[in-house]
Symmetry: C2
Amino acid sequence: MLDQIGSKWAVLVMGELGRHGARRFTELRQHLGGISEKMLTQTLRTLERDGLILRTVYPEAPIRVEYELTPLGQTLRGPLKALTEWSTQHIEEVVDARQKYDERTRK
Amino acid sequence: MLDQIGSKWAVLVMGELGRHGARRFTELRQHLGGISEKMLTQTLRTLERDGLILRTVYPEAPIRVEYELTPLGQTLRGPLKALTEWSTQHIEEVVDARQKYDERTRK
């Protein structure tokens, strides 16, 4: 389960729905720069299957489909926030460590 | 970066080193049931490259190699603990949601 929770796009989708509430597919794509349609579809399906997001179809014309966090998904917001905050705070140290490691091992 | 942090084995290795301090390769394998030698080697290398763990070689006979968290790795313990605790607490709800999703979509 951790593999999926930790996947970059899943974390970003959860964050976006956590901050903004219900979103349509096209809105999500606009706010998650660089995600392909296929990857977003897969990510949403996995999160829905895990019970973390709810997909609601409004029978209008044209049909409207919205995604939002379930109560279970809400409980994951805190842990994910801690992880993304850590990443933001420490990304430079990690990049620096990788560079030094690559220099050491290239010799 | 999130992809790697969230990978199941990386989280388990970090947890093991966080709880027990320095560990040798064989000790880690024993305590992480089911990880292959190749996967553990890859996981340790990635974590070392990211600056999260330190690999120390003791020039004894036979050579001893130990792994431990770096100060940077220590700062990641809290966020990872929150994530693993969430998984432990909610795994049944997720399994249940998956089962219901599969029943719905099989129709």
